[in-house]
Symmetry: C3
Subunit: 134 residues, 3 copies
């Protein structure tokens, strides 16, 4: 098993950051041929997701839609004022799982792995574990 | 470990397709008694979920509610015009995990496994891995 | 591998119940030092999530926002009248995965594990498996 912590720097309040290359780098170093890659986000106003990477407009469209759906003007009690970011963290989820075969992540043709920033900009972390299965 | 790719054909723009029987078929053939079943959707306008299977109205009600919530009329930039489907893919998630005990999926009484089509109709795939644990 | 079923009693229609201490209790009894904890919710109007535990207002704010977003007044066909709860179950997801290191759950500083009740009050269950990895 390979364990690692990846660093992610975000630059905007809401942003999807492509971390696929970082994950692939750890996979290559691990030498694992067949197995599972688990990713975990330890933050409560951020998340992980897998979505299209070919057209960057998909990421900005997703954020545009979320800004429309989320009720930012409710009388929230949480003093930090980032309650919608906490809800988005739960809706997107804290972890992702990707199969590994022939030493490669088994992502779909258009899929990339994204770190989802909902209360940035911040310095963030993502925990990774690559496990071999035969 | 058993690896397989399941085929799913969808017939409508948005649809939840029950794939439980296909997954159970692979479990039976695997002979695994105790372990974990991981499912992975490689598409960026589709997802996987686990929800009620007893009343088909639950599936159509979920789609009715999503059509109400999603902002389909925003000035999206992604030229394919399916940005809401990409957001739904992230909200529902790309993978599911189900425990296996005594050779059976440990789904709840009312639970079935669904492939979620958000930009159909299309021919889709779901990757499956069944892992034995003692 | 340690298997267990945890009991959760909910007291309100919508509620996030912190189950972190129960999970930590099973981890301690398991003696597992390095591995993965998988949690699974077998109900179709409930879910699991990981979110902030320091300020209880985060949980109530999340529920306030969900009540605002969800369309409770659509002409749903499911006779039990809890279709929004089914949708929320799919949006939050049925399972969570947390890494284990040095015998401790690798939750982020502010993270706690929550059972999400969307159609309570009820008596609920959560299935747990703790798996050792070296």
């Amino acid at each position: 098993m390979r364990k690692a912590t990846m660093q992610v720097t975000t630059h905007r309040p809401m942003e999807l950051v492509d971390i696929t290359a970082q994950v692939e780098g750890h996979l290559k170093e691990s030498g694992v041929i067949s197995g599972i890659c688990h990713l975990y986000n330890p933050h409560t106003t951020a998340a992980l997701t897998i979505n299209e990477g070919a057209d960057p407009a998909v990421q900005s469209d997703i954020i545009m839609a979320l800004r429309q759906i989320m009720p930012f003007d409710l009388p929230f009690e949480h003093a930090e004022g980032n309650s919608p970011a906490h809800l988005l963290a739960s809706l997107f989820g804290a972890s992702e799982m990707i199969f590994i075969e022939k030493g490669r992540l088994q992502l779909g043709t258009w899929q990339k792995i994204y770190f989802c920033e909902f209360d940035g900009p911040r310095s963030r972390k993502v925990a990774l574990r690559i496990m071999e299965e035969r």
